[in-house]
Amino acid sequence: KVQEEFAINTAKTLVDHATEQCFTKCLKAPYSVNSSSLAQDNNCVESCLAKYLRSWNEISKTYVGRLQQQPPN
């Protein structure tokens, strides 16, 4: 049960951070909804999310690898 909660928390944090980053990087004020660029914004979010997930994986590997070489004090 602890592990389940743990996985849910990780997924939730990942969604929150990706939303924050991709909103900031893809959309600009005044955020008008009827914009003709709606499809483009959605594509940008899609691509941003994919890159965010790959970054998360890459960084996990790097960080865990480093922890194995040299444990935290």
């Binding site: 969604v15 939303t19 008008s32 979010v45």
Partner: protein, 74 residues
Amino acid sequence: AQVNNIIQVEDQKHQIQQEIHNFTKLCFNNCININSSNILNADLTTNENQCLTDCVGRYLDVNLQIVKTLQNSK
């Protein structure tokens, strides 16, 4: 049991309030222009108001899009 109910409702209210605080920080920062030329003007302009509403709406859209993409990719 009733006490637990009250706590649960308050907890949910707390989360919603927290979201409102976060949105206000983000959208105020991006939509509201504070500078020396508009000081003493305490009202929001029509554009500022619209920007705030759209900021929240599109943030929630992006959030939903991301949740759906992740659910479909499983």
